[in-house]
């Protein structure tokens, strides 16, 4: 987020409050979904989708990744790639 001036920041504050509301609602949703005791696989997918949406909201708006510098995107892309390799690790142990 480059050096935003004061009134621009004032506009952002409204966005932060909306994001907060969205996060609260999504939390409630994900808890409610868990009460249905869906079969494991679907429950995992649903929970991860909701968590990813919440995560991207926090990362996008609170951490200002929406309008970040190119070099940060490169670092995060590299990290995401090795994160995926790391998450595939369990398939290696049983293989």
């Amino acid at each position: 987020m480059n050096t935003a001036s004061a009134e621009e920041v004032r506009k952002h504050v409204r966005v932060y409050l909306m994001v907060f509301a969205a996060l609260a609602v999504l939390t409630a949703v994900t808890v409610m979904v868990s009460y249905f005791h869906l079969p494991v696989h679907t429950a995992v997918i649903v929970a991860l989708i909701i968590a990813s949406v919440k995560g991207s909201l926090v990362a996008g708006y609170f951490m200002h990744l929406i309008s970040e510098e190119k070099i940060i995107y490169w670092v995060l892309a590299l990290t995401a790639l090795f994160f995926i390799v790391l998450m595939l690790l369990p398939t290696f142990t049983s293989g």
Binding site: H12, Y16, T30, A47, F62, M63, I72
Partner: protein
């Protein structure tokens, strides 16, 4: 910070990368944290896939308490970003209010956590009880340590650190931004931790 040597781009952003040193540094640190928690989540997946019977989180853990904790942490994330925003608007008083709220909410999170842990220990449930509890205590414990780390940093910035606001406001705002990025990351980890451990 009386380093005799003036480090370029410590406060002003670099013309090409558009970042001041601290911001680039904190993002690299968060990248390594992603790999740290990634390894633990990968361990969780491996243990769960390998185990014949894996209990459902909601049957063993207190979901309402954890939901409350999630709200607390999300709220603390909001107050954190508001603290940074109020500094951007030059309103030091509002900044102190928001940062104080963030620290308070972090304490609330830890207190709720200690109730949860206390209840477990009371029923003689320890990490050694089962692999589920082992990974539960390890993940939430390490996350808790990160919350404590965040509290210490924020406390420093609220009390002794805030003297910097009068002499070098921009450098102080940058620091709050970095502390904020770290805190949002800790919240981000909990956002994934909560459903994985408690709801699946």
């Amino acid at each position: 910070m009386s380093a005799e040597v003036e480090i370029p781009y410590a406060v002003k952003p670099h013309p090409v990368t558009g970042l001041f040193n601290g911001k680039f540094g904190i993002w690299l640190f968060l990248a390594s944290e992603v790999m740290l928690f990634g390894a633990l989540f990968s361990t969780y997946v491996l243990l769960r896939v390998g185990a014949e019977a894996w209990p459902h989180g909601y049957s063993l853990l207190n979901v309402p308490l954890a939901t409350l904790n999630t709200f607390v942490l999300i709220l603390s994330s909001v107050t954190m970003v508001m603290a940074w925003a109020s500094l951007k608007m030059g309103d030091f008083r509002k900044f102190r209010l928001n940062l104080g709220a963030t620290i308070l909410l972090a304490f609330v999170f830890l207190i709720v956590k200690s109730f949860e842990y206390g209840a477990k220990f009371e029923h003689h449930i320890h990490p050694a009880t089962s692999t589920f509890y082992a990974i539960y205590f390890t993940l939430t414990g390490l996350h808790g340590l990160h919350v404590i780390g965040g509290i210490l940093v924020n406390l420093y910035l609220l009390l002794p650190g805030s003297a910097l606001w009068r002499t070098e406001p921009e450098r102080f705002t940058n620091r709050i931004e970095c502390a904020g990025l770290y805190w949002h990351f800790v919240d981000l980890v909990w956002i994934f931790l909560f459903p994985v451990l408690y709801l699946l």
